[in-house]
Amino acid sequence: MTNAVEIRNLSFKYEGALEPALKGINLTIREGELLGILGPTGAGKTTLCLCIAGLIPHTLNGEYIGDVTIFGLKMTENPLQVFVPKMISMVFQDPESQLFGLDVEEDITFALNYLGLPHKEIKDRLQWALNIVGLSGFEEKFPYYLSGGQKQRVAIAAALATKPKILILDEPTSELDPIGKSEVFSAINELRRTYKCTTIVVEHNVEELVKFSDRLIVMNKGQVVLEGTPDKIFQHVQELNRLGIKPPQVTELGYLLKNRGIHELSEYDIPLTIDEAYKRLLSIFRKQGISPTKHNVKEPCLDIRSEEPIIQTKDLWYIYGQGTERETVALKGVNLDIYPGEFIAFIGQNGSGKTTLAKHFIGLLKPSKGSVIVNGKDTRKCRVSELATTVGYCFQNPDHQIFNRTVYDEVAYGPKNLGISKEEIRERVTEALRAVGLEGYDKLNPFFLGKGERQKVAVASVLAMRPKVLIVDEPTTGMDWKTSITMMNLIKELNQKGMTVIFITHNMEIVAEYAKRVVVLFDGKIELDGPTRWVFSKPHILLKTLIKPPQITQLSQMLNGYLKPDTISVEEAYEQLVSFLLR
């Protein structure tokens, strides 16, 4: 078998960087193989992709040592035109910046123009590529108005249209919502079925990656630290945890059980998917003759709260673009009470109204009908400025708000606008920086910090206003597991100190681990509202809202009778299993 890619002793240092991004990589990729790349942020995954795509060293400069050989052609000895777009295609992380045509057709056929193909062939390939990603009939759409998943699928189609021998997908789903993610994954599956080419996928979503990869490598600090088939790699659960890579929940469960010496399980390897785990556990139960017992989920008791809600919405309606052609009703009669000290997650698909609802709490949006009362004030009667000292709103991307040269100035921006004394500003900034664990960062330039740290600066700058309620919009999107956990622990700590916290997220494992109350939105209405455990034990309603509960909850619902259907963490499932398997 020929090798598609051969990398020998590759090191690369970006111009002006202190540390090399890649340190002596040796890697061989066989033709037709799907290679998955895992690793924390900053491990050099993207740099490796750019090296294989030839953009390093041909477009980006730096110190380049070693060799990359593509189908026997050395990267440094041939011009870039030999490799792209005919031989190698790459899909980037942000769908917005790689679709630059005025319609989908232009984007997909862009590279074909440089190949000198006949007109008919171009048309055929356009249809072929659109078919694979399931977007036939989208030729004339303007890219900006497609959803994230659709955009990324167009980008994949554009990469495919040149019929490349090597396709590189660099975190194609990290900026997408769950629907977009599953759309992209099914496009990748369809691609594997119909068009065999060497494929390289960088991905944080391990659950999906293990389903279609032939081989995985794990990178850390510019080096390949683990390499092998998915089931081999996931024998090293501890090693992966240390690197900040989260194995699928069923894998963690299998690992715990195996370590405990549940005899029957150790004959097998650790399961990687829910189905595997289900079959293995079921066969163990059958062998031991354990029969299912019925578990009932307790309905939440309505605790009557004596205090006044800090935020209250009454029959809240919101209509975007009222009176225009593009009128959309985003909220349809939402009634919600939020009490001081709560820790709430808003979940739901994009367009379900989560962010619209949250923006009402700080007055960025005013109700079209109904009312929002924040801390006793009707938001229609006051400006954002009056609410900003009660409610702090932290946007998803810190890039959207950081503009000062030092962290101190950035955090002090809000308090300065309040017109308070210098001493008090200093006090507030110190307090806010301490709360997010960035003491001593005050003189640094926030533009040179990592994404996780920038996110913390953004939170600190909101905290410096001393709000009673903190709203955090998608704090973990596009972050690796380790950074996500640090961020969420920080938010949890704030909640424990008495702050009311509302966070919006798509990550159900995060919801299960942190939130105390969950509000599920669907099509502008509240579909479910209650304690986290209770919400996740309603699979039928969640299915309607297209939300998948965490893997472990899904597993325990499949094994209903053996496991409680409202299990929400690996530890809980493990304890339940141990209690009757070792009886």
Binding site: L50, D94, F100, G101, L102, K359, S385, Q401, N417
Partner: protein
């Protein structure tokens, strides 16, 4: 769509070759530029409205476009009579005098301004962006200019979206704006000030970086013209329309400079 002004209708004007439409636009512009009296500029205005009706465009939406410049047009109609003092007097009070010619020029100016807006609106409402770009290519505009235009049109809505998000994010930390006029001025300056400009530039720089990588990965070559999807062809209808437009332009030029200069341009 935020910036889409194209109106999808099946009409004579829609089917015209975009280059012929650009030529018509040029004719209208010259006509409107060389006359200043109410009647000839009114005829130019009527010509554009006639085209709009022919194109089955929604007139209400078309006139809404002029709303943005309504103040300017009204000011023109009111101010010009103060400067043009020739011709028979209509109204006189002390030093204040309004003449017949002054009114003609004022109204004419109103027509000229709205003609310029409406003519471009008619072209943009009946021609897709792609047709326009394709015609730019056929009249030998260098490819990198055309491609830059493509990118501009493509990324305007993205940048508007970014700008809106940044403005909202900063508003959450900026409660210090006063009431009344001071507050209003503060609000306007903060909408274009450093707190918004810096993150926006940062975002744009990031996006352009990624964009350039994506372009390189597709083998982008600024000197190579893409293969057109639809060959543009000039038909009999296009020719006839072009001849009529040029004829009207000729009549205007002759009338303005040779036959009735006194009626076309009033001093």
């Amino acid at each position: 769509m935020l910036f889409e002004i194209y109106v999808n209708k099946d009409s004579f004007v829609h089917k015209l070759d975009p280059r012929v439409k650009l030529m018509w636009f040029f004719c209208v512009m010259v006509c409107a530029a060389i006359v200043n009296s109410a009647i000839p500029s009114g005829i130019v205005f009527a010509w554009i409205i006639f085209m709009a009706i022919l194109a089955k465009l929604p007139l209400k939406r078309l006139l809404l476009l002029t709303q943005a410049l309504a103040y300017l047009i009204i000011v023109c109609i009111l101010m010009w009579p103060l400067f043009v003092k020739s011709g028979p007097t209509v109204f006189e009070w002390d030093w204040f005098k309004v003449t017949y010619n002054g009114i003609l020029v004022g109204v004419g100016m109103g027509f000229r301004l709205s003609s310029m807006i409406l003519a471009s609106a008619v072209v943009f409402m009946t021609t897709t962006q792609k047709e326009l770009l394709e015609s730019l290519r056929t009249i030998k505009i260098p490819e990198h200019f055309v491609f830059a235009t493509v990118l501009t049109l493509r990324y305007i809505p993205s940048l508007m979206g970014e700008w809106k998000t940044i403005a909202e994010a900063q508003a959450c930390r900026d409660p210090g704006r006063g009431k009344g006029i001071v507050g209003k001025i503060k609000r306007i300056t903060s909408a274009i000030g450093i707190p918004i400009a810096v993150p926006l530039i940062h975002r744009v720089a990031k996006m352009t970086n990624e964009l350039s990588l994506a372009l390189d990965s597709k083998g982008f070559n600024p000197n190579m013209r893409p293969i057109p999807y639809k060959e543009l062809k000039i038909g009999r209808r296009d020719k006839a329309f072009a001849v009529v437009s040029i004829a009207i332009l000729m009549v205007y030029i002759l009338a303005r400079f040779l036959i009735w200069p006194q009626y076309m341009w009033i001093y």
